[in-house]
């Protein structure tokens, strides 16, 4: 094979060059590999040769068939072209026929119109004469529906030209005569309060092409009805006795009557309007009615503001908000506002109801107007334009603006109410007797009361039907939790937990019953623990409140949902403020109740010798005096708090107690000398302690014993070198919590270990 020869000769020539470089063997191997690859490829190419040849043979056989197909296709194409020309010829004729037919029908229409013109002219004269306005209007309507311009043209060419022109002018005269008659009669009917005639003539306007005038007149007429009713209602409202069951919400009721009255009128008359005027005219028809609504609403709202002293209350709101910075201590601050707060509650309820009714009314109007705009719209663009017009008309209205202002007043007052009520609840905080000895631990009324107030205010805001309003109240509630509740709890906790021994249950009972005058520090302890528990339960209250509100408040769009959710999210984040207050309190408790007592208890460890003989060891092991006393003391301390703390706070207490005990015990160990048996004792003591504390809580505290356990293990070694069983690569899962230098320090506590051995350890 030539390629092989070529390769060989290349190899030879390469050999020389490669020789120079000394890489001959390597190069040769590379080439040999290449050769093999080339051979393989050649082989595979050869294998495919016969396959390809087979294919080629197949193709040559099929070739003649192609020719036949080609000529068939050509024939088909010709046939199709022929058919299509034929069809086009036929359809052209049909089109011509169609045009001719439509001209004929136009002609017919014209003839009809001409005939009708005659008829109408005669008819209208007769019916006007007999005051049959319906018939006359029908004739005029028929006349107006004709293409008057075309008719005039026809008249010019028609033979009987005068006849047509006569009818024409006669009808035009009749139309204008009828227009003024209908106008006149309508006004007369209105003056006479003759509802039947009002409706009778109302129906005639559109026949005479007077749609807008008819709607305007009719709507004006309906407005006077609204005005009369509203006047009466307002008078009744103003003369309502304070003792009346609905006196508190009489203005909301009056507004409701106004809205209902208008809604009822729309309900009754919309079908009439639609039937005689066609769809798409409701917005126009409602114009005067809505303007009357503005007028009446303004009067009612003015009375509401006057009678409920909203201005004065709002002023108080602003004043209170201005001083909302640091919480005003002392009762006097609360007293002044107390009266206002009491007055606020009913006023807020009324305002919320008033806005809720407006929200309903507005939704009703929007729905009706949108449906009518939809029905009246010719195209999509037209529909969009009409809907925008509806939105703009509603937003522009005085009613809408005034109700937004009223909502604003409501929100300002609601804020005042919330601030003042929360402050009052905190100021009047009382211990909760239901909490005594129950599983919940000590609690006081403030937290319960505060969350009751917040829930009430948020619910009331939600009842106003305004999501923006509801969100504002939710935001304000979050602010209040941090500004009022957290700071009150923090202030209480800042006063600290007076140390010293006490019987909490007894102190608690005496505070509660007011029998015994408890000592100041006893009372302070109880209040401190109540604040701590309050902080713990407040977090849970927040979560519950958020969940309830989220479930209760209706939202209609995903946008509204996410708006509400973001605001609720803000509210629930006030828990982090509460948690930091709780942490602060726990640190106080640790410093004053845990640390000072645990110290001396643990320090007695040093007074027990840990260099024991066998006999001493046996004697000591029998009753383990140190650890038994310590456990008894710890148990006493925990029992003292157990009843008084919430489960959460109690678990936290066990945790900090464990920390204090282990920290102190570590220190004590470092100050003690051990022999092997002493180490063994320590090991048992640590175990006893750990098992006691672990059993005291549902949380895991064992980890906090890790260092002590390791110290005990070290002090329990037979020889220094034994540590290699625990330290180094063979140690397995044991993670050291002690640093190498600490390990040496611990080992040095063993009197029988030589310091040289310890120094020599490789750690």
């Amino acid at each position: 094979m030539t390629s092989t020869e070529r390769i060989q000769s290349t190899v030879l020539s390469l050999v020389e060059t490669v020789n120079i470089n000394g890489n001959m063997k390597e190069e040769y191997e590379k080439l040999a590999q290449e050769e093999e690859a080339v051979n393989l490829r050649l082989e595979s190419l050869f294998k495919r040769q016969c396959h390809i040849e087979g294919k080629l043979r197949g193709m040559t056989k099929v070739l003649p068939n192609l020719q036949i197909v080609h000529s068939d296709a050509q024939q088909l194409a010709e046939m199709i072209t022929f058919t299509s020309t034929l069809a086009e010829n036929v359809s052209a004729k049909v089109r011509q026929l169609d045009i001719a037919r439509s001209r004929a029908s136009d002609c017919q229409q014209r003839v009809h119109d001409l005939l009708d013109l005659q008829l109408c002219a005669e008819g209208v004269k007769a019916s006007l004469h007999s005051e049959d306005y319906e018939k006359a209007a029908a004739h005029v309507h028929r006349f107006l529906a004709m293409d008057q311009h075309l008719l005039e043209q026809t008249a010019d060419i028609a033979e009987d030209c005068t006849n047509v022109t006569n009818s024409f002018s006669l009808l035009q005269d009749a139309a204008s005569q009828l227009r003024s008659v209908v106008n006149l009669r309508f006004d007369e009917a209105v003056r006479a309060e003759d509802l039947a005639s009002v409706e009778r003539f109302f129906k005639l306007f559109p026949l005479l092409g007077l749609h807008d005038e008819g709607l305007e007149k009719f709507s004006n007429y309906l407005s006077t009805k609204i005005a009369d009713t509203a006047n009466g209602n307002l008078k009744t409202a103003l003369s309502t006795q304070a003792s009346d069951r609905r006196a508190n919400i009489i203005f909301a009721d009056t507004l409701t009557l106004l809205f209902e009255g208008i809604a009822r009128i729309i309900e009754i008359h919309q079908p009439l309007i639609e039937t005689y005027y066609g769809p798409g005219r409701l917005l126009r028809a409602l114009g005067p009615l809505l303007r009357e609504c503005d007028v009446q609403l303004r009067r009612i709202v003015a009375e509401l503001q006057r009678c409920r002293r909203l201005e004065a209350l709002a002023q108080a709101a602003r004043a209170a908000q201005a001083g909302a910075g640091p919480r005003a201590e002392g009762e006097e601050a609360q007293e002044g506002a107390g009266g206002e707060v009491r007055q606020l509650d009913p006023a807020l309820g009324e305002l919320a109801i008033a806005h809720a009714r407006y929200a309903l009314f507005e939704r009703f109007l929007r729905r009706r107007l949108a449906a009518d705009a939809d029905a009246g719209a010719a195209t999509d663009a037209d529909r969009r334009a009409r809907l925008l017009e509806v939105d703009a008309a509603l937003a522009r209205g005085d009613t809408c603006r005034r109700m937004q202002e009223l909502l604003s007043t409501y929100l300002g007052l609601e804020r005042l109410f919330m601030v003042q009520s929360v402050r009052k609840a905190i100021a009047l905080d009382a211990l909760d007797d239901a909490g005594a000895g129950a599983a919940g631990g000590l609690c006081s009324s403030a937290v319960d009361d505060v969350f009751f107030i917040l829930r009430k205010c948020i619910r009331r805001a939600a009842s106003s039907g305004s999501l923006d309003g509801t969100c504002a109240v939710i935001n304000n509630a979050g602010a209040l939790l941090e500004e009022e509740l957290c700071s009150a709890l923090r202030a209480r906790l800042r006063q600290g937990y007076p140390s010293g021994y006490l019987d909490l249950t007894q102190a608690y009972n005496s505070v509660l019953a007011g029998r015994l005058q408890p000592t100041d520090s006893e009372q302070q302890r109880v209040l401190f623990l109540a604040a701590l528990n309050n902080a713990d339960s407040a977090s849970e209250y927040v979560e519950t409140l958020v969940k309830q509100v989220s479930d209760e408040i209706p939202v209609s769009t995903p946008m509204e949902r996410s708006k509400l959710d973001s605001c609720l999210h803000g509210l629930s984040s006030s828990t982090s403020g509460i948690k930091s207050v709780l942490d602060y309190g726990i640190q106080q408790l640790r410093a004053s109740a845990v640390k000072p007592r645990v110290g001396p208890w643990v320090d007695s460890f040093q007074s027990v010798s840990h260099q024991l003989s066998e006999d001493e060891f046996t004697a000591y092991e029998a009753d383990q005096p140190f650890v038994q006393t310590l456990v008894r003391n710890l148990h006493g301390l925990l029992e003292n708090f157990k009843e008084s703390l919430t489960p959460g706070n109690y678990d936290t207490l066990v945790t900090i107690l464990t920390e204090e005990v282990t920290i102190h015990l570590e220190k004590a160990v470092f100050k003690t000398s051990f022999n092997r048996l002493g180490g063994l004792v320590l090991d048992k003591e640590v175990r006893a302690l750990a098992s006691f504390l672990t059993s005291s809580t549902s949380w895991s505290v064992r980890d906090k014993f890790a260092r002590l356990t390791q110290m005990a293990t070290l002090l329990n070694l037979e020889k220094v070198t034994e540590i290699s069983d625990y330290w180094g690569s063979s140690t397995g899962p044991l993670t050291w919590r002690l640093t190498p230098s600490e390990i040496r320090q611990v080992l040095a506590l063993r009197v029988d270990f030589r310091s040289d051995d310890i120094k020599r350890l490789k750690l």
Partner: protein, 203 residues
Amino acid sequence: MEDYKFLFKVVLVGNAGVGKTCLVRRFTQGLFPPGQGATIGVDFMIKTVEIDNEKVKLQIWDTAGQERFRSITQSYYRSAHALILVYDISCQPTFDCLPDWLREIEEYASNKVLRVLVGNKIDREDREIPTHVGEDFAQRHSMYYLETSAKEAENVEKLFMEIAAELMEQARSKELPRYENNSPTINGRTTVIGDSNCCSRMS
């Protein structure tokens, strides 16, 4: 859950008609809305941006400038991380009202809130407030300052991106709590609970 590391609340305030809604729409939807009606209450929009390869979620609250919505809009100040105070450079009264707005901010917002003054509508020929006057005002009240045009999309992206970057910087330096993926606890200003705290309920 959602894939973002930081969540910030940005609240826009300022007189009616200064272009707050247009600025927000330009930034969130990239358009200048024709025939923009006055905002009713508060509108709410979300946009996630990327800064230094970190996803930052901006919660943008577009408040109504009209007086009668004040009691609604005020309630959003407290939890805001950034407040954008907007005026119209072609309308002196909107600039004259700035001290009133600052008073509101002082009263209701956290003192740590990032405050940005924005002079909008710089595309207009009839400017009434020169740039340096706006700048001076901002400086005197220690606010950031930027001039924008929602119409011509000028500085709008920059406005929000710089706010996001600044807030992220603050959050990183622990002035603000950090929001982890699964626990998006928003907390405007209360103390951060450190991990080292012995009493936090863990383990």
